[in-house]
């Protein structure tokens, strides 16, 4: 019995100790406290990374068509948005990037050139890091798919898109459905999927007879699926490659998304320039004090 009590006492002491430590860490930090920058990036081939390195200029293009991804070899590679966020929340000195739609309170978004990655700024085109969302079809005579695409590009569909992204066509016409029946399959980018789910819900209110199945994978898988005919509409969070269009696909841009640069909530930094951001990801800017 004594042992049990002793154990409980020790356990509660440890617990209090942990909480105490957690409390101490809440004091404001300066850039000096943060020391070296821990760079967190996404994996090669990720749509977010592709858009990020292109938009920031981390990817250098030669005159002969050569493209070199200059992301520092020291960057931690996280293969999911959640893992990026987890890396940032767990490390005061870390910096990362995620889709602006996935931002939450556990991390802090940094302004780029003084512009916050809000949906207003992305729509206005003032925010530097924005990327296109594409859909692609192979069979342009598929009435059901065309009706849904018509909805996406209509005033109603673009209104749905503009809730969290930028609409590509702000003066689109109103939508009139041909009321097709049956089922279509939409597959591809996990970045586009949340938007597609919302579009699907809105479309179902107009025409509940068409079943839309959304399969979440990634941009390349979605484009491959549509070119092989295993789905009707492919989704990509990047522009289609020439080799993909050569397979007989018709791409259509449906919206734009912003990429938010995120740091730990204790990081005092509020803004940086796009060039500084590129230098951090190229490994040329190594400590937080360099950003002063």
């Amino acid at each position: 019995m004594k042992k049990v009590i002793l154990f409980l006492v020790i356990a509660s002491l440890i617990l209090v100790g942990f909480v105490g430590c957690g409390g101490n860490k809440d004091t404001a930090l300066t850039l000096e406290d943060l020391k070296d920058i821990t760079v967190v990036s996404r994996e090669n081939g990720s749509g977010t990374r592709g858009a990020f390195i292109e938009l920031t200029g981390v990817e250098e293009k030669g005159a002969d068509g050569a493209k070199v991804d200059k992301t520092t070899a020291e960057a931690i590679i996280a293969n999911k948005t959640d893992v990026v966020i987890q890396q940032i929340t767990g490390n005061q000195s870390a910096i990362g990037y995620i889709s602006a739609g996935s931002l939450n309170d556990t991390v802090k978004a940094v302004q780029i050139d003084g512009v916050e990655p809000t949906s207003e700024n992305i729509k206005a085109g003032t925010y530097a890091l924005a990327r296109p969302f594409f859909i692609a079809v192979k069979d342009t005579n598929n009435a059901a798919a065309n009706d849904f695409i018509g909805f996406i590009l209509s005033a109603e569909g673009q209104a749905v898109a503009s809730e969290s992204y930028i609409a590509v066509n702000s003066d689109a016409a109103k939508f009139t459905s041909q009321m097709p029946e049956g089922k279509i399959v939409v597959a591809g980018s996990s970045s586009v999927t949340p938007l597609m789910e919302k579009l699907k819900e809105a479309y179902a209110e107009i025409n509940p007879k068409l079943t839309i199945e959304i399969q979440q994978s990634d941009s390349t898988a979605g484009i491959t699926a549509v070119s092989e005919g295993t789905c009707d509409i492919g989704m990509a969070s990047r522009a289609l490659k020439d080799t993909e269009i050569a397979k007989g696909l018709t791409p259509t841009e449906i919206a734009k998304d912003g990429i938010a640069v995120i740091v730990n909530t204790k990081n005092p930094l509020t803004t940086m320039t796009k060039d500084q951001l590129a230098d951090i990801y190229k490994g040329e800017l190594k400590t937080w004090t360099d950003l002063k």
């Binding site: 991804d69 931690i76 893992v83 390349t220």
Partner: protein, 287 residues
């Protein structure tokens, strides 16, 4: 009597079929990997592929050098063995020969539970607990060879403990009693007699542990940092071959995809070498 014979014949066929299926799947996997990696290997060059230090699959022109990943897999596995084998072996000795039965009833299910935890949960634990721990205690980013080794060391414990304990228990009781009757203490009997007698079973557990460590993916991806470059220190991040495949396969097309499948082939060859070394070790001892 006749009925019995027919049944025997029938079951013989069933067993033959099941055996064929399992062997055929191994061969099919091998054939798939080889066929799919040959075009990529031919284009990149086997030597260039294995010794190249730059992995930049999305660059134009792309470069595919697997050396950082090969070294990554070796370092992380070696670290896991350094941490997991002593810990697991001593636990196994304790469980088999020193543990009071009351405590055993409690500990054994706990160790079994360790084996049942999904690797993604291990990974998450590593990410929120071991990574910050390594960062605060030793510096660096926390996503490192060391972190991955610690995590994998824990993950291979159930394999090592379970098999080693079984091997120690399989040593005939008469060996132990003989040692005691010659005046050896309990500890001496266990460490100088039972352990050597259980050697081959313990080796088997280590080999299986290596197999698990080198093949583990989801947990390692979350804690290792995954940098595709040759690491220079134990606190450097690292990418293993399996992580590389799982991270990039979803996006890979054309040559990139071939190169990833070829890394699978290299991994396959590694495990083959491991198994051959193990069986050589065993037959030599048997002879």
């Amino acid at each position: 009597m006749k009925k019995q014979k027919i049944l025997d014949r029938l079951m013989g066929i069933v067993f033959r079929i099941t055996a064929t299926i399992s062997i055929a799947s191994v061969i099919l996997i091998l054939v798939f990997i080889v066929i799919n990696s040959i075009p990529a290997l031919r284009e990149i060059g086997i030597f260039q592929f294995i010794t190249g230090k730059t992995w930049a699959p999305t660059d134009t022109p792309a470069s595919f050098g697997l050396l950082p990943m090969i070294l990554g897999s070796i370092y992380v596995t070696a670290g896991a063995i350094l941490i997991g084998v002593p810990l697991g072996l001593f636990t196994a000795i304790f469980m088999a020969r020193f543990c009071p039965p009351k405590l055993y009833k409690f500990l054994k299910p706990l160790i079994d539970l360790l084996a049942g935890i999904p690797s993604i949960v291990y990974g998450f634990f590593g990410l929120v607990f071991i990574v910050p721990l390594v960062r605060t205690v030793l510096g660096g980013t926390g996503n490192s060879i060391l972190t991955a080794s610690i995590l994998l060391g824990i993950m291979i414990l159930p394999t090592i403990i379970g098999l080693s304990e079984a091997a120690i228990r399989a040593v005939p009781q008469s060996y132990y009693e003989g040692a005691l009757s010659l005046g050896a203490t309990h500890e001496r009997a266990v460490f100088t007699l039972l352990l050597p007698a259980a050697k081959s079973g313990i080796f088997a557990s280590v080999i299986l542990g290596i197999g698990r460590a080198i093949g583990e993916t989801m947990a390692v991806v979350m804690v290792a940092g995954n940098q595709a470059r040759v690491p220079t220190g134990i606190l450097n991040g690292v990418r293993t071959m399996t992580s590389s495949i799982v991270i990039e396969m979803g996006y890979a097309a054309d040559l990139h995809r071939g190169a990833l499948i070829a890394s699978g082939l290299v991994l396959f060859v590694f495990i083959l070498i491991l198994n051959i070394a193990f069986s050589l070790l065993n037959t030599r001892k048997g002879a």
